[in-house]
Amino acid sequence: MNDKPDSDNSKYVEEAKKRIKEQLSLDDFIRKLVSMESETKKAENTLFKALFDTYFLYFPEAADLIRDKEAFISALSKGVKRDEISSYLGISADSMGYNLSDSDLSAITDSFNQLVGLSGLRTMIELKIGSILEENYINLFKVAGPDIAAKLISLSGSLKNLSEMPSGKLQVLGAEKSIFGGKKARTPKYGVIFFHPEIQAASDKLKGRIARVVASKTSLAAKVDFFSKEDKSGLILKKMRKEVDKIKNGT
């Protein structure tokens, strides 16, 4: 039946290992970092919510003033006790909240330190992604910005896929839910590029048309990064600026 039966699989295992080694790339690392960043962010938010609720039990009057995560972190870093935080916020240390002893408060302090750690970790990962992109994909980095560029690479799988993608598809990457969600939803105008500053700055009416320009220039940037690696971002950004202004001026 077999013309040349393989006696054992070692040849195949070696060959497969070789191919895997060849095929794994920087884009795979970027994808993993992007997912690590989003998971870290989720963990950070989950812990923040739980910790906030616990703190609310202890000192609701203060917690009410620092519902925002950043504000919460900067306030509690001055100390978690009522007298410490009340002087920072300029409120009375009297509270209707449940009194906690110093040793009970350590649960809050420890969780807070973890939250600060997670927050720092996320910032570190974001910076790492940014520096990798700046070093390797300068056009995409400048035109789309590090966050969007990383997400686009992650969603498309690789820079190669992204560079081969029509800009209309790039425009809606990340909006798969609303594309395939059903027949009632209209075709989306933007996916992850929605957070691009040009689109954010545009009025609601023009967002769709500007998204098209941003997608087309981002696609161009991906192509330049993939095929030539030269820094043409200045030129691409200038073109984008011109086209965006044209739309905004209604010409």
Binding site: N9, Y12, E15, Q23
Partner: protein, 223 residues
Amino acid sequence: MELKRVMDNVCWAFDGRKRLVSLNLTPSKQVYGEELFEFQGKEYREWNPFRSKMSAALYKGARPLELKEGDTVLYLGASSGTTVSHVSDIISNGGKVYAVEISEEMGVNLVLLSEIRKNIFPIIGDARKVGELGMAVTSCDFLYQDIAQRDQTDIFIKNVSKFLKRGGQAAIALKTKSIDVSADTRRIVDREVKKISEHFKILASIDLYPYQKGHSLIIIKKG
């Protein structure tokens, strides 16, 4: 506990509930966190229908596949090797499973598995071009395909024509969402079954719900 044979090295185990199990080729080693248990001095691995479409088909009442100890199997779309490991249990040390997977990331697990299970022959490559992947074997006793591609049926027909021996069985796990996201699942299955039936005899077409959503397993025989 009581065992009832299904296929070579595969049984239904009854211990309060009915579970599909396969004889563990590498005792004490798990592949994907499945449960291991001993019965009469032999170790078995649970074959989870939520993880493996082949198992789901048996749970949904498929007749035992013509897949035996010592067989040579061509497995397209091996992924990380969950189902492949059970095929490896079935064909045992005398058999060979050529496991083709295109994604290098999934391939890593497959290669790690192949180092423990010597009857798995991993190939990192495209199922559309099996002939070009440097596989020494040109004919197999059983062919299984589980790839989520739009042209999965054509790939299946091509590979069965080329590699499956006459009279052999093959199965394809059809993912309808890959063919058309918006069309009706049953219509797609009917259409694909018709397409396959122009070439081979259809033995069964099994909807894998609720174990696997939007998947059907189609079993054929090559005349």
